[in-house]
Amino acid sequence: MSAHEQYRDDLALYAVGALSSEESARLELHLAECSTCREELNSLSEAAAQIALAVEPTVPSAHFRAELMARLEEQRSVAVAPRDVRLPVAGRQYQRRRAWFWAPALATLAFALAFVAVWRQNRTLTGENRDLAARLATSRQTLDRAGELIRALTAPDAQHVSLVAAGAKVQPEAKVVYSSRQHSLVLLADHLNPLPAHKIYELWLLPANGSPALPAGTFKPDDRGSAALVLSQLGDGVAAKGFAVTVENEPGSAVPTMPIVLSGTT
């Protein structure tokens, strides 16, 4: 069974890491629900690994090797210290000879130490679990609320109603809510003109520092001229002085093509 036709190219691009973060996020939403596309992606990823495997191997310097091994010792001594503790040979023999004498006391001491260690670890873990559970619950609530909002915005039967001054002529319009800190953007558009074949509306972020416009997602209106775009991982937190919409060839362009059909400043 083949993957969904409309995701065919994107799966290959995703496998080699060639999608933008927004495009990846959109595909991941689909992957979360589609086992066929996940399987296709797995096999394409295995093929993509060949690109890296074909790189000429280069052995790092002996100095680097020695440093890494030393680093390993440090990590090991922290991580598995009790297992690594070894007495000098003479000491070990002495300990074996006298072991019967000290055995009960050592056993009691060992049990007490182990008990304290387990109790402390348990107490820490319990605290961490409680903390994690609380954070998880908060995250779930936030996620549920975000999910409800996105479902409401993008539902096929969602009614977009624009209120204008009585008697005013209805014009294409869009509203953008953007948070550079949250890397998130919501666009709601209405009364958009239908697009010619193989064309798409593209949103552009106009950076506050005056650098060139950045692509911020593409969208197509439904048969009522409405569209919604929700991006949760947009760019590098660039501050915006405004947004603009152009019509581009599918699947979108890296630079805007004039004319601008909608624009607005913050």
Partner: protein, 178 residues
């Protein structure tokens, strides 16, 4: 392949036991592959060494991050190294100095037996691809470019770049199953 699976599984088992000898063997077998990939992506020896260290220490601290049932160790190491190197490339955004790292280093020695067997097959598969497919695959996977950036770099329409990437991957996949 079954032999390989058991080799990979035994490496993980040795690391789980905290077996330093096992780690040293792992390093000697795969360091060439990992450093080679990191160096190709980053083109900077110090940054590539940082990636190599991260990859090996990750395996040492958490050997079960590799699951032998889900694939072989060499491709897995190559891919996680590539991901870390590309992340590092994007974060650091340092000046690429292609003169610092000769891509065909005359001092480079091949990694040992089964790693180089995998590497040889991958080289053969890549060499069989049309040059334009190989180019876009490398620009994406090893230079960390998006399809839009690749289109600009090779002065080709996006659609052409997408189809070259897809066709290239399909050929590699076919070669793997042959």
């Amino acid at each position: 392949m079954t032999q390989q699976l058991s080799n990979d599984a035994s490496i993980v088992a040795r690391l789980l036991d905290g077996d330093k000898e096992g780690f040293v063997r792992l390093y000697d077998e795969y360091a060439g592959l990992i450093y080679g990939v990191a160096l190709r992506v980053l083109r900077n020896a110090a940054a590539a060494e940082d990636v190599v260290q991260e990859v090996f220490l990750q395996l040492w601290r958490n050997p079960t991050s590799f699951d032998p049932k889900r694939g072989r160790l060499a491709p897995w190491l190559a891919v996680i190294t590539r991901h870390r190197a590309v992340d590092s490339l994007r974060k650091l955004k340092f000046e690429v100095d292609s003169s610092e790292t000769p891509l065909s280093d005359p001092q480079a020695s091949h990694a040992s037996v089964h790693c180089s067997a995998e590497s040889d097959r991958a080289k053969r598969l890549m060499a069989q691809l049309p040059a334009e497919q190989r180019q876009v695959l490398e620009l994406a996977f090893l230079d960390g470019l998006t399809h839009v950036e690749i289109a600009a770099r090779v002065s080709q329409p996006l659609g052409t770049v997408k189809s070259r990437i897809r066709l290239g991957l399909l050929s590699l996949r076919k070669g793997l199953s042959a």
